[in-house]
């Protein structure tokens, strides 16, 4: 197995990091275990469950399907960067709390990152659009209903 390394510089949640990484290191492992940003969760490592979704140059992507070496020179946001500060939650986080949109919370970071980008692209979605956008993120606890309600609530508040 190849063990060549790459020097990368990446900005995560506004903080620049310089690291040397093995070519085969998954971005999800890099974020979790090298940068200790463990809020990004790993559910399947084959790109289906969506738990590891992060925002990469503004797009919601699955960090288990990328290598750390690919993010050199790019910008990433993880769930740790979502809230504006320690005292306040992002509108999506707040709505998920109010609507009981999470139970075990394991899929939640991926859903937050997916829905953040979705609401930027679709600021006034209807329920069908939300369900479609949510369908790439698996949640085993909630049955999705409270998540859908939370996204609707967050969208309404963001519109104001």
């Amino acid at each position: 197995m190849s063990t060549e390394t790459h020097d990368i510089t990446v900005t995560v949640n506004g903080t620049p990091y310089r690291r040397q990484v093995e070519g085969r290191l998954l971005l999800s492992d890099f974020l979790r275990h090298d940068l200790l940003l463990a809020g990004t969760h790993v559910g399947c490592e084959h790109g289906v469950c969506g738990a590891c979704t992060i925002i990469f140059d503004g797009a919601a992507v699955r960090s288990c399907l990328m290598f750390a070496a690919q993010v050199d020179g790019h910008e990433i946001m993880t769930v740790e960067g979502l809230a504006p500060d320690r005292e306040h939650l992002h509108s999506l986080q707040q709505a998920m709390h109010e609507c009981h949109g999470l139970q075990c919370g394991y899929c939640t970071p991926g859903i937050l990152m997916t829905m953040k980008v979705f609401l930027e692209e679709t600021p006034a979605p209807d329920e069908a659009q939300i369900r479609e956008a949510l369908s790439g993120n698996l949640c085993r606890c909630t049955g999705y209903q409270h998540i859908v309600e939370a996204v609707q609530l967050a969208a309404e508040r963001q519109q104001k």
Binding site: Q93, C104, H146
Partner: protein, 786 residues
Amino acid sequence: MNVVATRNFGAPITRNEDARLLTGQALFVDDVELPGMLYAAFLRSNVAHARITSIDVSAARARAGVIAVYTAEDLGDYWAPGPLLVPPPPIKDITFNQRTQVPLAKGKIRHVGEPLAVVLAESRYLAEDALADIAVELEPVPAVTDLENALTDESARVHDDVRGNVAARVRQGRGNYAAVRARADRVIARRFHYDHGCSSPIETRGIVAHWDARANHLTIWDTTQAPVFLRNGLAGMLGLSERQVRVIAPFVGGGFGPKIMLFYPEEVVIPWAAKKLNRPVKWIEDRLEHFFATTQERGQTHDAEIALTADGRILGIRDVFFHDTGAYNPYGLTVPINSQCTLLGPYVIPNYDSAFTAIFTNKPIVTPYRGAGRQHGVFVIERLLDIAAHELKIDRAEIRRRNLIPPDAFPYNNEIIYQDFAPLSYDSGNYEPILDKALELIGYQQFLAEEQPRLRAQGRHVGVGVACYVEGTGIGPYEGARVQVQANGKVGLATGIGTQGQGHFTVFAQIVAEQLGVSVRDVDVVTGDTDQFYWGAGTFASRGAVVAGNAVNEAAKVVRQKILKLAAEHFECAEEDLEIANGEVSVVGVPGQSVKLGALAVKANPMRGAVRPGTEPGLESTQYFGPSGGATASGVHAMIVEVDPQTLTLEVLKYVVVHDCGTVINPLILAGQIHGGVAQGVGNAYYEQLVFDEEGQLLNASLADYLLPTALEVPHMEIAHTVTTSPLNPLGIKGAGEAGAIPVGPLFAQAIEDALGLSDRKIELNEIPLSPARLFELINKPSDAE
């Protein structure tokens, strides 16, 4: 405690635990990082049944970055089959052959994914590299996969000394079925298949073990639903005292049953390796492993017969079924006993004769997964009633109504033995209002009389279903809780059960807040850390709120008395003149006369001076609660579905749940539990199936092929409640964790039959899971129905 709804108890309070989870700050097992940590990878069998000729790990041991490689031989005397977690209930003439899982395979492989060796390396990547260096020679044995063939003398044996692969034989009943059958107006017999799936929490299993040689102490972080028993077992296996082992079940990313199973092979091997190597070790299951290495639920085949009067009253039922228990049976008979008991449902069934055979196969181990066999029994009774309704020309809802246990018949004793070893007795219930409410909410009569004919005239295929169920919840033995007022005025609460998303940090806080007059946000809850609370059984069988919740209430009541006693001394007044609210104790009617709970807590722990003999320090109490029996919840689900006749895809147009779980602590959290249960039921009914071939190979071991329902498949649900409190605990609670998942299979079968008019074509859907492909096969072959 007065259980009327107040601003705390009974209110839809948002959760205390959310902020950490929403900001990525909650600790899950894989988030534990320790200096010098090693990473484990397990070599797993890729065949289902074989004798092990040799395992050569020398090349793997020589690879750079590999610290150790172990096989069963290396474990020495530590190697032993796991314990029987649930002994068979005391049922007359029972046969039970105990064969439990082993830490690493020795001599024989019994299912795909059974671990053969473990590699410990400096990174997970290196550990997985080294798996490819291990040379294994196996001598294949024919796989045992078909239940009926497994029983024959010609079949291979999963366990060489177990003839016919019989794990258990159990027969239970009441009354005299043969006698009522002889005088019945109608007897209906059918064969039913019910296959369950795997729980697939989004967090797979994992364990981190840290042996501190200087302290002689082992710390384990584990995704377990049963931290106390994990600690006790590991201490015993490793020759340690229980106080030398701390098990922490931190935030756990979904459990649903299989995480109550212990001791998984990894839970035996990883702590041993950490201690032996004197380095922390982490193992995190990957998704592929989860499909083999975590327990599942699986198939039953029922040959069932119902005897009825002409007006649709049940005289009796006979059921003979096979239960696939997989390669080992560490969880005893919980799943098939639940099937046997829950088949009786909310109905008067005076004569019952039920016999099952549990069978070893070369498939992953079967232990409870949400519903835990209840689905299988509910499917059989609900389908029998549907067929009876059709044959007797009685409305489907009406035949159910006629057979419901009347409200004055409780406690209702079904006379057979349940999973908690006690007779299956329903503590309380009032079933007809639940059915009425469900029919009203789904618009049953109007749908059948107006909507369905109108839509059918437009060429649309729409149907309605209605299914009833009961759920035994809140079983013993016991749980405990410690409530303690802190000097900062907050209230600490610790309980031994672990949490996997059920909202324990909030509902238990509500119970404390109600007693102690503090904010729910000021109750600091710890669950699942054996150093914080020593005793407990675990989170299973929809029992957390019932059993631990009542222990919390008892402890909080004692603390309340201590607060009042101390405050009465402080103010030199009578306790009756005091009230507790907003985190302080006040003298009623005397403004300014109040003291904060935190100040009282300090006062209760004096640094100097004398106390009266018998005085206990602090405002603290530890109490335990064990119910005399399980509390029986109940419900009705109803659904209107549209089927695309070309693709056989479904659209659920309306889904209604009416549920009775006694006193409701938090309706918001309760709704979440029901929603999630229904979603798993929907998956089981129409999307999820573990497809094994006759070699015992799982053909769809990925989330791309094993289809968990998404936001597009799970319908919007409308939920309503009735409240029949349980007399078996002071709060009147019944469990709710599994209810949503239980009746969805028969509901889908019934509604799809109705939508496609299958009864008129003599086609019955007597198996679950269905799918578009399977439905196509079933409706395009000649029926064998009568």
